[in-house]
Each structure stands twice: as C-alpha cells, then as structure tokens.
Amino acid sequence: MVSEVQKNNNAILRVERLSMKFGGLIAINDLNFEAKRGAITALIGPNGAGKTTVFNCITGFYKPTEGMLTMTRQNGEEYLLERMADFVITKKAKVARTFQNIRLFSGLTVLENLLVAQHNPLMLSSGYTILGLLGFPTYKKAAADAIEKARFWLEKINLVDRADDPAGDLPYGAQRRLEIARAMCTEPELLCLDEPAAGLNARESAELNKLLLDIRDETGTSILLIEHDMSVVMEISDHVVVLEYGTKISDGTPDSVKNDPKVIAAYLGVEDEEIVEMLEQAEAAGVDDLTAAVDLMSSEAIHELEETHPDAAAVSLVTTGPARPAKPAAAKKQSVAKLARTTASTATGTSEAKPAAKKTPVKAAPAKAEPAKPVATRPAAPKKAAPAAAAPAAAKKPAPKAPAKAAASASQIKAGATANALAAPRGGKADRLIDIKGIGPVNERKLNEHGIFHFDQIASWKKADVIAAEAYLAFDGRIAREDWIGQAKAMAKASQKKPAPKKSGGAE
C-alpha cells in the first residue's frame, strides 16, 4: 500500500486526506491517492464503499468535510477543487463526469445534448447571446463547428444515425455512450466515469473498453473510472484504487491489486451475493473474462475460507444428511468452488470434490460429462446458512424427478434439472439462448447441460422450475428480475413465425 502521496507532476489529480461525513456516517475516511496523467485509474470497491461520494467531492457536488483535491492541468495551472463550485470545476479545471444513474437531457435530441455540453465556448462566441441574436457571423461559424464536433463524437460512439432522435428514446447502452460523449464535448482533461459498464451486455462492454482506450490514447484525456465489472477494470485500467467502507485498502497496478489479500477478503469476505455478482458479471463478459475474475479471487481466499470453516469438508464427506439443505448454498458458492478447480495450489479442494459428488443424492445421475464440475462440491463451499425459503423447495422438488428422467432418457441431463428438460435439442438444433438478455455463454452451456435448449422451454417455466434453475445456475432472483420467461416467450413467438420446430408441449 502506498502510504503517502508525494508531489508528483505526473499526477493530474491528487486526492489528499479526503474525508466526507454525512452526519455520523463516515463515507470517506482519510483517503489519499492520485490519478496519473494520460492513464486510466480505476476506483473499485464493494457497494456503499464511497466511490460515488469521492466523485461527488471531486466534481464539486459535495463539499468534502476535510482534505485537499488538487487538479493540475496540462498547462501547469493548479486548481483546488474542494474550493470551487461544481460548474466552475468543469469549466475551468476541465473535469467532466458521468452519473451512475444516467442523466441525459431526455427531451433534447442526441445532437442537442452534445451541443449543450459546448455551452461555454459557444456562449463566448455568441458574445453572451447579444452578438448571436443580431446574427453576427462569428457565432454562425462557431455553431457550425460545434455541430461538427458533435458529429465527430457521434461517429465515435456510433450514433450518427440517431442524432436527431430524442436522447430518451435511445437504448440503455447507447445512452451510456452518449453520456460519455457529452462529457467529452466539454473538452475535459480528466474524465470521471461512474460505472459506465453497468447494464451493458458483453458486446457493448467490449465496445466501451475500446471507446475508453480510444479516448485515452487519442485525446490524451485521463480517466477516473468507477466500475464493478472486473473485466473492464482489469483489462483497461493502468492503476487501481480499492475502497472499502470509505478507506483505501489497496492501490497499485491491476495485477498487484488482484493479488492483494485485503482486496480478496473485501470481495470474498462479504455477503454471498457479492461473489455471485462478480461471477455473473464475469460470465456476462464472456468465458475469457471469467478467468480474470477467478484470478482475482485467488488461492489465498480459498485457504482463508478453509481455515475459517475447517470442518465443512469433512462433514459433507461423511454424511449426506446435512448436505441436502445446504444445496443452494453450495450452488451459490460454486464460484468459490470454481476457483478451486482452476487454482493449482488448492488442488486439495478439487480432489475432495469427487467423492463428495458421488455421495450426494442430487448427483445421482450416473452419466456426467465432467466429473470435476463442482456443482455440488461442498468442501470449498462451506459457511453461511442457506436462504431458508428457497432451500427446501429447490432441493426437494426437482431433485427426485431429475434422476428418474435422466435414467429414462439415459442421457446427460444433469441432476436438479427442471421438469421440462429434454434429452437433446429438438431437431438436433438448439435455440440461441444467449439472445435472452442475462444469459451469457456460460449460462447457456449450463442450461444445455440441464436439458434446456429452446426458448419455449424457458417460457413455460413455473415457479418451481425457476427455483430449480436458479439453483443450478447459482443465482437467486435474477431470472425474475431480468424477466427471462417474458423474453423467452417473445423469442419463442418470434421463432415460431419463422418455420421452426413445433413445440412439444408444456407451454401455456
């Protein structure tokens, strides 16, 4: 950990002893870090760590309780941001930002959004409106230039065609890109992005990476980035600062940060959802990025977990009784189990997984493609009680059915499959399940392994099926949240219009 921030001309922004208190709540506690010029600095940390608050302090929306924020511009001018009004920070200190919940001018067109961002230079060239009102040519030229600049950014973010549509009419991903372009139209030297990849799919997220690298390399703008999506952070950032509860816990290159035990503890030691979420995001970004996430949660974490719950592995090896209610928890902890699989240093976890799998009733189906697939590897997945409501339902209902079905069809349908699982895709061709928003390649593979190949199968899921599916997909509530069933219904309908295999039944 870097203890003291020393004066460094290479730093575009120096944050020194920054503290922010909301009444009794300390949102930021004595934070020191610096963002280097021409680099992408990522600010990461669990929810509520205070990342957005740091941004709000930098951009003047909050006045920090204590601390100094020094912005050094290219021309050497220094600005103390904590003393400046928010709009002056953008205007003079050249810091631009985006918002966690998009703030576009939804009733203005895409083009107008970019023109509003060029307010200050245009205001000057219109002689504070008076010359412009009288029709002076300087303003006309400036207005034309402003539109050209807007067009440049529209081309960059791929929205030229939609320039004349209201910004509120754009799809979510495009709105995010537009917000970045709008911030860039203020010609910032430091661009602060608050979770730009939130809600983007894998393709959009990759495009975003490219856009950000482009901005850094072509315009020389330094970027300060808050992001939960580890694939984005690890791929593009030059420097990572990790916050937890308002305190910096790590600071360094992406590689050094992801091997920092404190960071791993911060991400793994918290609620189950965090891990699941990280895994989900990694999945959404594609299989390759999964390894990045896995890397992050490296060997030490597993050790730590095993140390804190040394008896868990033994229990599941000996008796199957307690294993049953623990099933969803196990599924949730799959992420950790996966780590075990890939991390050589903790191969013990993997080797134990095999016998465990054999003894588990839900794993009864004999034909199993990957024996090491740690769906039910309890050893690496100890601790924390299963969510009470979901547990019995998920474990009891589909479980007895699945082996029977599997036996009957003598196929590779995995245990815990939903009632309408198929042995093989109808007509030998599966639907592209990844078309459903929220299903990535990894989830698709899992669904296929569990006998789900078609949209109409998902469309016909009932509550119990959803619970079962969530159990093997290792997340809760997401199917409903992302309305997979609704999406699947729409897709099934769409594919039926084209000549497609008739549905076999089960659908309402």
């Binding site: 918002f99 009733g107 083009l111 219109s126 303003y139 030229v160 004349d164 509120g168």
Partner: protein, 468 residues
Amino acid sequence: MADVQTSNPESNFAKAVKEGLVAAALALGLFLLIVGFRTDQNIRNELVLNQRWGLLAIFVLVAGIGRFLLTAYVTPWNAARALSKRTVAAKEAKEQSAFRKSFPKIGLALLFVYPFLVIGTLALYNGSMMGGLQGSLKYVDNFGIQILIYVMLAWGLNIVIGLAGLLDLGYVAFYAVGAYSYALLSSHFGLSFWLLLPMAGIFAALWGIVLGFPVLRLRGDYLAIVTLAFGEIIRLVLINWTVVTKGTFGISGIAKATLFGIPFTPGPGGFANLLGLPNSGVYYKIFLYYLILLLALLTAWVTIRLRRMPIGRAWEALREDEIACRSLGINTTTTKLTAFATGAMFGGFAGSFFAARQGFVSPESFVFLESAIILAIVVLGGMGSLVGIAIAAAVMIGGTELLRELEFLKHIFGNDFTPELYRMLLFGLAMIVVMVWKPRGFVGNREPSAFLHKRKLVSSEFTKEGHG
C-alpha cells in the same frame, strides 16, 4: 384482447342493456325522494306534497339510456379509435406536419389583414364605410388587441416556464411593473411612449433579477409559492404606496402612444386630419393593434432566436436536468436569472402597452387571476410551443369575450340567465376537457433547435416539465 371484441358483439350489447337497467334502477332509487316528490306551501301556508313523476322519469331515462349508449357504443368506439390511431399514427404525422408547417404563415397573414378584413366585412354589411369603421372598433379592440396582449404575455411567460421549466406564479407582477413604469414616468416627466417602452422592459427585467435571486435555490412548489407571494407583494405595494401610485384610485389620464410623433387626436395635427380621413377613434385602435402585433412578433422572434443560441439550449437543458447542466459547466444561477429577466422584460413591454392602451392603470388589473390565466394559456397551448400558445390564448381570451356576446343563450335558458356568470365555469370545464384530451397541451411536441440530418419533432413523452 382483440378476439374478445370480435367474438361477442351481442354479449357486449347484452352487457350494455344490463348496465343500463342497473343505472336506471340506481337513478330511480336515488332520485325517487329527491326529485319525485317536492314539498310546497300552498296559499294557506299548508305543506303539500307534489308528485313529479314526469321529471323523475326523465332523470331515470337519461341515466339508463346514457349508460347503455356509453357501454354499447362509446367505449368500443373509443377502443377501436385508439387501436387504429396507433397504426396510422406514422402516416398521420406526416400529413399533419405539412399542415402544421404552413399554419403559422397563414395565421400571420391573417393577423396582418385582420382589421381591414373586419372593416371591409362590416362596411359591406352596413352599407357605409363609416359604419364599418365604427363597428370594427369592438372586434379590433376587444378581440384583436385583448387576445394579442395575452399572446404576448404568454409567450413571455413561456420563456420562464416552457423553456427554463421554472414555475412562476407571479408573472403579472412584471406586467404591473411595466404598466406603472409607463404610467408614472409619462405623467410625471412627460416622456414619450417610444422611450418608455424599452425602459419599462428594462425595469421589469431588473425586477425579474431581483425576484430571481432569492428564489434561485428553490424548486418546484417552493418556487411557485415564492413567486406567487412576489406577485402579491407588488400589488399590495401598488395599493398602499398611495403617495406615488394613488392606491386603489389608480393613475388616469395616461398619455396615448403616438405614431412617430403624430398624435391620434381629433382636430388639426391629428392623424385623421393629416391624412384627410373622417374623424374616428378606430385609427388609434388599429394602430394599437399593429403595435401589439409587432410587439408579440418581436417576442416570438426573440424566443425562436434564443432557442438556437447556447443560452436557449441551456434553458431547456435546465428544464430537463439541472444537475447534469452543472456537470457540463453551465452556470445555472445566471442561466435561471436570464430566463427570469427575459420573461419579465416581455411582461414589462406588454405592461407599458397596456397602460398606453387603457389610459388608466389600477392595482385591480394585476390580481393573481391574471397570472393564473396566463399560466393556463401556456399550459393549455403546450409548454414551449409558440403556435400552441397563440391558439390557446385565442381560444381562452376570445372565448371569454364571446361569452359576453351570447345573448341567444337567454332565449334558451330564460331571461334571468346571464352568460357572463357562467364564464369561469365553462372555462374550467373547457380546460379540464383539453387537459384530459391533450395532457401536454395543444402542441405538445417539441421542435429541436438543431439537427444533423432531418428536423424531427420530439414527442412530448420524452420532454420534462422541469421541477422548479
């Protein structure tokens, strides 16, 4: 949904009959005692019970048949219309835009020839030129000028509310400032209208800034309340500062405007005398008509120009999202102040015109109701839309004036019916109907201030009203 409608039209009919009967029964139960019987005193002061079966039957029938028609025809018709509307919306939009494009031009041409149109028509009708001139007075003054004053005021307020999204309930204060500026300065110092017109605008703009400062931090309801209070304060000052304003008495004998020094007075040197026309008060009215028309057009022109300036875009951006504005380096304080000042300035122009036209000002002309009417015009017209607001002003103010004329209503409702008394009632009803029918006003769509490929209207579902 669709098959429900097609498969059972007769069940719909049956349902309508049933609902109609139920409604009739309810009406019978409800009105039996209220309408069916009436107690009266006869000549000997005895209480007698009159039975009014006929009237009761009418009530019941109206309820039953009304309900039946509603269920059987109106609702399905509405649903079908909504359905077809969605499908042809795209086509319709195209046709409409062609009409919409030429509408302002046609309207403008009509406005310019309006006084002569009226005079010509009336002259033909009366058979004499003089009759035409005198008869036109009412139409030029009560309709033309009156409506145009409100058009101008509403266009001025539109800058504050429609563009910048700041809800100002005290707009009439600036109108009062303009009117009193002209009244006082012209009667005390004898300054001419043409000098005082811009000065009145500037004074009002200054007051706009004065009001703007304390309310800048306020948003929404709070801003509305403070501006409302500001309007009332100005009025109370006018009433109570009797030394200067003569209180409720008002200031009378305000100098009339002149046409570049030519006064509109009878006798030598006057306008009619110079041009060798017969003496008539109508020339002054026609002059005033063109004056307010030009003032209103100036307001429109400035608004249109401003919308394409950075400041106009900043106003609209402010209406959409103030925080985002600040994150883009826009000084929202000055932006709001300019909106207040610009809107107030046009209010001041209109005020000085009003004083010159009336020749008399008193605080009674600047009550809250005026602010409310101007606001209603802006909202009904569609915030931000000049054409919509002009239409709304014509409908609302013209409608009020028309209601004074509706003598024939007396023949229907009897002689003790005074239509003026029902003016506000009809007004309220009309406003409710319009707002239900077109929640974003007559012209809800927003025209973008710049475009790359093609100017497309922005549907009202995306624009925000602002929140303070």
